[in-house]
Amino acid sequence: MTTARSTRPGRVQHRGSTTLLGLVLPLVILAAGAGVAASWRDELPARVATHWGSDGPDGFSSLTALLVGTVAGCAVLVAAFWAFAFWAGRVRNLRQLAVGLNVGVATLVAALTVGTLAPQRGLTDGSEVGGVGLAITVAVFGALALGLLVALILPRDEPSPETDRPRDDVPRIPLTADERAVWVRQTSSSTGMVITLLAAVLVAAAVTTAGTWGLLAVPVALVLLSLAMFSWVVTVDVTGLTVRSTLGVPRKHLPVDEIVDATVDDVVPLRDFGGYGWRTSTDGRTGVVIRGGETLEVRSTGGRRFVVTVDDAATAAALLNAFADRHRAARPAGTPESTVEES
């Protein structure tokens, strides 16, 4: 009994959509923004305002320097994230992250460039321009909306069922053939919530002082984020593993037919994942990391590894392995439907 086949890194799927939406689209958006700005060349002052403080513009540069610095700089960033998704995007969440970020950042940069240059047309100097709060608000929300939209329409991972039982040395809960079982556990981090809420209060205070009311949506978004990221319900049942935020979304389901095995691990969030929340680590693991310590780690076909920091992970892992055993027993290795699908 070997699991060599299933743990080998799988082929990266959907490279076409990753390139079209994660590289071509953001570059087109950036080029369009730069093109519009360049077409205003003759109407714009020689030194345009590029930075605003609490009482008007306080940073200036030439149009060329602005376009090269921001637009070209952003294009480099876009190319880097696209390359990551193209070569390492085995999991849809990872492709969503890279592609959504690329579209969002490109939209933000293009919209900010156009939105802050537009009111400077016909001026003799950039310092004469007024505030640009509205342009910033529109750019932020446009970027968020487009980035999320693109992430949502990315194609799903193709099913790739596992045919071997979990390794012999991983623990199982003994289940009789007819027995039904479910394991449910809430995992939350009050520290994470307190920190995000504190940040929300600070942003709200800053926004209120500056009078840019449109940006009040930022603290509201932070509160929602803290609820969504720092409180999760983990469920193991006969269908596999489901991890969902207390808010309902985001939600992740690992179907039992793709699960190779489940084990218990210990994670150090900053060292292993560079932070807290929905994370991706450099070793290819993705998952929900909201505290250090006991962690459920589930390996799926194609070399995918998913983690969630939750108490009593040993019971969850043992139950998942038992369900995986039962699933493989119902469909003996060598005769699965997957070979039919592939032919």
Partner: protein
């Protein structure tokens, strides 16, 4: 919290489910204020009728182990948080003693049942 149901056992399904929660509380797996999964979720995961789960939850509420509130779901009560530590220690002591005496589990259970009747 792990819930296990055996449809082939003679005990009714709702009673099995209620027993699981009672055990969870006594073992300390379920803390005061902890929320049980919604009846609908539990019914889906265990392939049970939602009324079976609701019947188990109502039994537990009648025993004062959980509160059922609209919108909040089933929450483990203060009463359920009574200190079971002494009982757990005593059970562990009984298990150790009967093992030391090579007493069969059936005999030990029979003794316990007699003591409880």
């Amino acid at each position: 919290m792990l819930f296990r149901i055996d449809p082939t056992a003679s005990e009714p399904l709702f009673a099995q489910l209620a027993t699981q929660v009672r055990l969870g509380v006594a073992r300390g797996d379920l803390a005061v204020g902890e929320r049980l999964p919604s009846a609908r979720e539990l019914a889906t995961s265990l392939d049970l009728n939602v009324h079976t789960v609701l019947r188990a939850y109502q039994d537990l509420r009648d025993d004062g182990l959980i509160d059922l509130r609209r919108g909040r779901g089933a929450v483990v009560t203060e009463r359920a948080g009574a200190d079971f530590a002494t009982l757990r220690d005593a059970v562990a002591a009984v298990a150790a003693e009967s093992r030391a005496l090579n007493l069969s589990p059936e005999t030990t259970l029979a003794l316990l049942k007699e003591a409880l009747s």
